[in-house]
């Protein structure tokens, strides 16, 4: 985290950012706002969730700042502080209940068949007994509890 105080606001991160090309995410400004202690600007902003965690900025930063890692930490804090977005919670729910973050639809099945792989992927869909393991894991890791707490 401390590394971010070395930031010289050069913009290599935002210039490199594939998500920033299509969203308002300005990686540089995340670093700047944290430097200045402007919590709400970071935690309360939708941009924080636009990062794809591709690590390109971190690889290029001339001050070796762990930018992507910092974004992930900031997201954890944002989540803890109740800034979780609806769609994220929806996805989390899906995962807890079905072992998949998105619904397996007919079009997916068709697509798979068209490229000659098994029509159902080798996941909980093929091995329903694995759902038990997933439940155990989401429980043990505290993931389930955290998500349910946020439901409000």
């Amino acid at each position: 985290m401390k590394t971010l105080y070395a930031c010289i606001q050069c913009g290599t991160c935002s210039g490199s950012c594939p998500a920033g090309r299509y969203t308002n995410l300005r990686t540089r400004l995340i670093v700047r706002n944290i430097q200045l202690g402007l919590r709400e600007n970071v935690l309360g902003s939708d941009d924080l969730w636009a990062c794809t965690t591709c690590y390109t900025c971190q690889e290029r930063c001339p001050r070796n700042i762990m930018i992507t890692d910092i974004v992930r930490v900031a997201r954890n804090i944002a989540f803890e502080e109740g800034h979780a977005k609806k769609p994220h919670l929806y996805v989390a729910h899906m995962f807890i209940n079905t072992g998949h973050s998105i619904k397996f639809a007919d079009e997916h099945r068709k697509l798979r068949e068209s490229v000659n792989v098994s029509s159902v992927p080798p996941t909980v869909l093929s091995y329903p007994e694995a759902m038990e393991e997933i439940s155990k894991l989401t429980e043990l890791s505290g993931f389930k509890k955290k998500v349910l707490e946020r439901e409000g």
Partner: protein, 789 residues
């Protein structure tokens, strides 16, 4: 011995705390002391005269003055005793002001006891002192300059004009360095070649300069006044006397060579036989054996056939020559950063991505009416390529790239106002005289400055380049298309600089450039007397700074040589030959390269020795000592510091290097900051002189804790002393542990002279530690007598 002890009142500064009478009477009873006196001001006329009279009256052969810090009056009293015919090294000072009365003002009794002990320590050391004489080396007027860029040229001309003889060695076929390649120079826009060429010609014509172009220094032996230098002259395969540079050979030569390291930076091909450029000095052709058909395939020799002067000599061999010189100046300059290492910019893959040096050559050739390529209408400059970048371990700023980009961009814009020229930067550093004005002019010319470091470049099928960058001032990311991209590459230390650093044992700073002796006061000296550095070999800089440093280096060399002789301090390492078995361990550890093995024993080259004492710490046979600070002399002080220790008292021995820690302790005194009276400060040139054996002996004799205070490495006049001290301390700790004594009783600390409270804290915390741990049991101390570290 017959010793005189003199105790100073310092007009109350000492006498108001310390009972002077008691100290004098104590001193008078010490063995070998024949007179003990006191005076209101020992440094006064009267005080000095008393010492001089006493020396002859009482036939004294040694003098101790107990007064202020030796920092102030050691030199004064050395002269006083010399006046009376004593050797100046037969004298010691006991610092009872800064290290006693001023820091123990509230405890007069304890201060008096301590003052007595400090006197006893000085007497004990003095008894083992020996008369020492300064040796002197005679100095001539010969200077070797390595590197023939503008730095080497300027230094050579200054020295030669002052009547010194210069041997200028340049590895390339011509002198001139990078400046020869530049278009114009910021901020005045002088034509670089036009102002450099006359200086190059002066070098060639000067009767006091011997030029060795296309040559390298292979070996350097010796020291100030006595350097023996081996130079290798590479074969040019062209007879220098016969060649008149008519160029017929190159016209006929069938081989075309493209090389980015060439004068034209790989933009214009040359032949295998060539002259670097039109104002090359020496103005002679040279054959490049890596590309010549005769050397690669054994055929051709066309040049030989056509040369009207029979100047081609394929059988030339490299020739070695030995020179004797008195001083050496290193002016090996820089190399540009290899831009291929920043893969995101595609240099070497995308043909329209160029380096700054290439852009310089393009501009020169456009002006000549001979553009080597079409650079198009849209041109981008990317700053800080190879500077300010930890990804490639180059954190430093290269200091010239902002300004040359401001120069090149506006030259391009002015040549053709229709061009769109953009400079992408992190910060613009226009710190020099006329620089900000020049920046303004570029803006007014219409160059666009965009604040953002370019993230990446991709090449389109039509070879146009797309830059991805955030304009950090609007906060918007852009993709922008350009015809040509210039990379403003930084400066890095070159192979040539690295080689010379190794040969001459010049240390490097963290940025890889050569390290000066002191960043403020000795910017062109090295820690080795007689070796100087200047120009970009020392760090990135522009031409005015380079020239200023070159003239400074010349002046510093002249300052030494003008004296015709050089006095060497006698406090240098000395080998006790009958103990030395020639194992060579000292040679390995001496960072100054001051020891060699000859005739089966180690020999110290005193002119190179810095007296740091690393060798003393590592010699397994105790066969090497530093004069005036030998282990027995230091031990005598230790013994005296401990012999009067009473039951319930403790002693913290503080060994203070005289560059930083000792002065620091003086400042603590001057600031009247009290600390534990158990501290006994012993002055040494470097903490490295306190060998592990000495520390163990101190614990055996009654020391309760030891602090070795050493100058922070970067302010120290000694190389790697801290590393040696930390090694020594570790060795001692290991033994203490084995013998059941707490290893934390010994430690070292790096100081600079302003860390007053830190010093007090370190000393006090050791004293608290000793009271916490209690007295070391006698049998454990005894067990140390046979221990070896």
């Amino acid at each position: 011995m017959r010793i005189g002890v003199y105790v100073c009142h310092c007009g109350g500064n000492i006498s108001e705390v310390v009972d002077i009478k008691e100290v004098v009477s104590f001193a008078g009873k010490l063995p070998d002391v024949v007179v003990a006196r006191d005076n209101e001001h020992m440094c006064s006329e009267i005080g000095q005269q008393m010492v001089i009279n006493n020396i002859s009256e009482h036939k004294l052969d040694g003098v101790v003055i107990a007064a202020c810090s030796p920092q102030f009056h050691e030199e004064t009293f050395r002269q006083v005793v010399s006046k009376a015919g004593l050797n100046p090294y037969m004298f010691e000072m006991a610092n009872i002001r800064e290290h006693c009365s001023w820091v123990h003002a509230s405890e007069p009794k304890i201060a008096t006891e301590k003052a007595k002990e400090l006197v006893a320590m000085a007497v004990a050391k003095l008894k083992l002192n020996e008369p020492l004489v300064k040796k002197s080396i005679s100095l001539g007027n010969r200077v070797l300059i390595i590197g023939g860029g503008i730095a080497g040229i300027q230094a050579a001309l200054d020295l030669a004009d002052s009547g010194f003889h210069v041997y200028l060695v340049e590895k390339e076929p011509s002198i001139g360095g990078h400046m020869a390649q530049l278009s114009r120079t910021f901020p005045t826009e002088d034509c670089s070649a036009c102002i450099l060429a006359p200086k190059m010609a002066d070098v060639a014509a000067h009767p006091n300069i011997t030029l060795y172009a296309y040559s390298e220094v292979k070996n350097v032996r010796g020291y100030l006044g006595n350097y023996e230098v081996t130079i290798v002259k590479k074969p040019r395969y062209v007879n220098m006397d016969k060649c008149i540079a008519c160029g017929i050979c190159a016209e006929k030569c069938p081989v075309k060579v493209i090389d980015v390291n060439d004068f034209e930076a790989g933009l214009i091909p040359r032949k295998a036989i060539y002259i670097p450029h039109e104002f090359a000095v020496p103005h002679k052709y040279v054959i490049d054996e890596k590309n010549c058909l005769y050397f690669t395939k054994g055929v051709c020799r066309v040049c030989e056939k056509f040369c009207p002067h029979k100047a081609i000599e394929f059988d030339q061999k490299s020739v070695e020559e030995t020179l004797k010189v008195d001083t050496i100046i290193v002016a090996t300059g820089y190399e540009i950063f290899d831009a291929r290492k920043k893969e995101m910019y595609g240099y070497g893959r995308f043909e329209n991505v160029l380096t700054a040096l290439q852009m310089e050559r393009i501009i020169v050739n456009i002006v000549k009416g001979n553009p080597p390529r079409d650079i198009g209408k849209r041109i981008a400059f990317i700053q800080c390529v190879g500077s300010r970048d930890e990804q490639i371990d180059r954190l430093n700023c290269s200091r010239v790239c902002c300004m040359y980009a401001i120069k090149l961009s506006q030259l391009l814009k002015r040549m053709n106002p229709e061009r769109e020229v953009c400079v992408f930067y992190i910060d613009i550093r226009a710190y020099g005289k006329g620089f900000e004005e020049y920046y303004l002019r570029a803006q007014e010319t219409g160059v666009r400055f965009i604040r953002g470091r370019v993230a990446e470049i991709y090449e389109k099928p039509d070879k146009k380049l797309v830059l991805r960058v955030e304009d950090t001032l609007t906060g918007d990311p852009y993709e922008m298309e350009f015809d040509t991209v210039e990379l403003s590459v930084g400066m890095v230390p070159g192979e040539g600089t690295n080689k010379v650093a190794e040969l001459l044992k010049i240390p490097k700073s963290p940025d890889g450039f050569l390290q000066e002796a002191h960043p403020k006061f000795r910017p062109v000296d090295t820690l080795t007397d007689g070796i100087f550095i200047c120009g970009c070999a020392q760090g990135p800089k522009d031409i005015p700074d380079t020239v200023a440093q070159a003239s400074a280096a010349a002046a510093r060399a002249i300052r030494l040589m003008n004296k015709k002789k050089y006095e060497i301090e006698p406090t240098k390492a000395m080998v006790i030959e009958n103990l030395c078995d020639g194992c060579g361990i000292c040679v390995e550890h001496c960072a100054a390269g001051a020891i060699e093995i000859s005739g089966g024993v180690a020999k110290v080259i005193e002119a190179l020795c810095r007296g740091c004492g690393r060798c003393v710490a590592y010699c397994p046979r105790e066969a090497i000592v530093v004069r005036h600070y030998t282990p027995s002399q230091i031990l005598a002080e230790i013994e005296a510091a401990l012999s009067n220790k009473q039951k319930g008292e403790s002693r913290v021995l503080v060994f203070a290097d005289y560059t930083c820690t000792y002065r620091l302790a003086d400042s603590v005194g001057t600031s009247r900051m009290p600390y534990t009276a158990s501290a006994r400060i012993i002055r040494v040139p470097s903490g490295a002189l306190v060998t592990p054996q000495l520390m163990l002996k101190a614990f055996e004799l009654g020391a309760d804790a030891i602090l070795i205070g050493e100058c922070e490495q970067k302010s120290s006049p000694f190389l790697n002393s801290v590393e040696c001290i930390s090694d020594n301390v570790e060795r001692v700790r290991k033994v203490l542990k084995e013998k059941g004594i707490e290893p934390e009783r010994v430690k070292y600390a790096e100081f600079v002279t302003v860390m007053l409270s830190r010093f007090v804290k370190e000393v006090n915390s050791l004293s608290e530690l000793t009271s916490r741990l209690g007295e070391i049991p006698a049998e454990k101390r005894k067990a140390l007598s046979t221990a070896k570290a």
